[in-house]
Symmetry: C2
């Protein structure tokens, strides 16, 4: 069933809920280039790096997803945004990631970005690739064997871009 | 004339010489996605970020180039290296960048990396693109209009990779 979560800026008091989403994903090690044994503090610092705008998606009073939005580069590259999204394990398959992506495209436009780039989409994460394509992203690069997948071994990573 | 500079790890006392190389390149704003008005401290911090191995190239007692070597990602992406190179303005055209690149490929292999990736080669920097190709790098991605060039306007950036 599709859901329409409420998406709002993350508060410091959301850290427990955000970590509850980050932890199983980082521990699985299948979708982000982050150590599987990353600590809570390190993981939250990565997600909350200075310059990141952070958001959470709420549905029925529970936080079901989180994403960050930032400039992908500085100087001559500062007009391109970058985001990272994560959906809570129990909330997949009902449109949370799509809702976050659509929210992020609006948020990026509002901030004056003219494009969005994903630097490292794991090619074996087919659901994500399909979702980003359906949100208007094109594959503009393929990084051969750039990711050591814990079950599949070396897999490619994709660079995906869309104009805003 | 080709030169064979001596390449060695950078010391803290090399900061003045390194800044003398970084400053004109960042001020020109044509090759790195860094603000043209970047401060000395910010520029050196970028070049010397924790996790960067930093090197300088010396020729005839003068520092004629500098590069950094780091893991491009963590976790499942930690086997791919990334480098940034810069040659002193008065020392271009005599093989300093090539010597640094060859040194960096060896240094990366020694550290156990199995590939090297350049994330953001400005397509209008044709000399660099040609040099990296001749050093075995292939273009695996093209980021459309990802860089605002101060003279040329929006230009593409390239992702280049080679196995080690």
């Amino acid at each position: 069933m599709e859901t329409r979560p409420t998406i709002r800026p993350a508060a410091a008091t959301d850290d427990d809920a955000i970590w509850a989403i980050l932890e199983p994903t980082f521990r699985a090690g299948e979708t982000y280039p982050i150590p599987r044994d990353v600590s809570r503090a390190d993981a939250l610092a990565y997600w909350r790096t200075p310059g990141h705008a952070m958001f959470v998606a709420e549905d029925g009073g529970a936080i079901v997803g989180t994403y960050y939005l930032r400039a992908n580069n500085r100087g001559g590259g500062a007009h391109v945004a970058n985001c990272g999204y994560m959906t809570a394990p129990g909330a997949t398959g009902r449109g949370v990631a799509r809702a976050m992506c659509e929210h992020s495209l609006r948020a990026a436009r509002e901030r004056g970005f003219t494009a969005m780039q994903f630097n490292f989409v794991i090619a074996s994460n087919e659901r994500a690739v399909r979702l980003w394509r359906s949100c208007g992203f094109a594959i503009v690069g393929r990084l051969p064997q750039a990711f050591q997948h814990p079950r599949l071994g070396l897999v490619d990573a994709l660079v995906m871009v869309r104009a805003l």
